[in-house]
Symmetry: C5
Subunit: 91 residues, 5 copies
């Protein structure tokens, strides 16, 4: 998983039906000092994250499994916001 900040969202009316109802947020990745460190990705929101919030994201097939058993295997996603970060403790 990695840290990120929600910086926006995308609007898509023509999309796979399995994605209907999911909020598609744009997340910029952050390092442990909360500085951006790579390219933004699109992640499904699983925790009610808002714009500007620091979150953490899971990538790959584990994002898809988040929605099991309700929507097993048919959810074509590879990134999900799984938590809002209260604090990062480093040192």
């Amino acid at each position: 998983m990695h840290l990120g900040r929600v910086i926006g969202n995308i609007v898509s009316t023509s999309k796979c039906e399995q994605l209907i109802g999911f909020k598609l947020l744009i997340v910029e990745p952050l390092d442990e000092h909360l500085q951006r460190n790579g390219q933004a990705e699109i992640a499904v929101d699983a925790v009610g994250a808002g714009n500007g919030e620091i979150v953490f994201v899971v990538d790959g097939s584990s994002a898809r499994h988040l929605f099991q058993p309700e929507k097993p295997d048919s959810t074509p996603i590879d990134a999900a916001i799984i938590g809002i970060v209260d604090s990062v403790e480093v040192g």
Copy 2:
């Protein structure tokens, strides 16, 4: 998932039979400002995307699961276009 722009397609007559019927598009990855930010990939089209359109792409095993349960596990793909982007809202 990540943003991308359809910039072309490939033609292949000698391919795995599981790929017959799939449209194989070339997608350049885009950042949140719609600037190219990496190497192009080949993605299967699941939404009827056309050349030049801004789309979003799912990578990895989740692309394969998109075609379940009709073609479970036998679809050897690792990238799929799953939506056409109407607008990107950042800020």
Copy 3:
């Protein structure tokens, strides 16, 4: 798998319920000479690792399978600390 050093942790009260009870550590990746070589990630601790310790981390779906069969497939993680390193022998 790759080498890493535990450099901190994150606190998150608003997170997926499947993550309750997991310790979320920040790990900086290390090369074989124990020098940092990339961006830090967040990994679930499976071995009781402490701050500053040299560990090794598994990424991707294999991290999720670590917690089977108790929590199969419902554990949305993509990185886990699976060992504390006593020594690295290179030469």
Copy 4:
């Protein structure tokens, strides 16, 4: 998936028995203009590709699933050549 060019092969007599019978080709990745754009990988050939041919490659678990149901899950591969490219149409 991504474009590539077959540039050679490896010979290995001491290997996992699940790999017996597979042709192990070296593929250099290509961009949409057929210029090399990264490190070569070793891919299993599923279409009878020859040296110098332009192909496309699937990576990750989807390469393994290519050989289902005949050799399910026991085929330890993460890249496969799944098509020979007749033409790349960009623009």
Copy 5:
């Protein structure tokens, strides 16, 4: 899969019990000319590879499946040495 050279090993007494009995080798990645081209990783040895030998490595979930059906899904690894390379033929 990719080429690599075994350059060492790690010793870990405090690790997940699923890893007991596995040899954990450090592998530096090599390009097709056998020059190092990236960061070393830790891979489980499946073929009896020794220090200094040229090998090839499978990454991701396919490494885990190598040990099925004896240890299905409970083996938390993401890289395995699956062959010793006799020769690399490029040109």
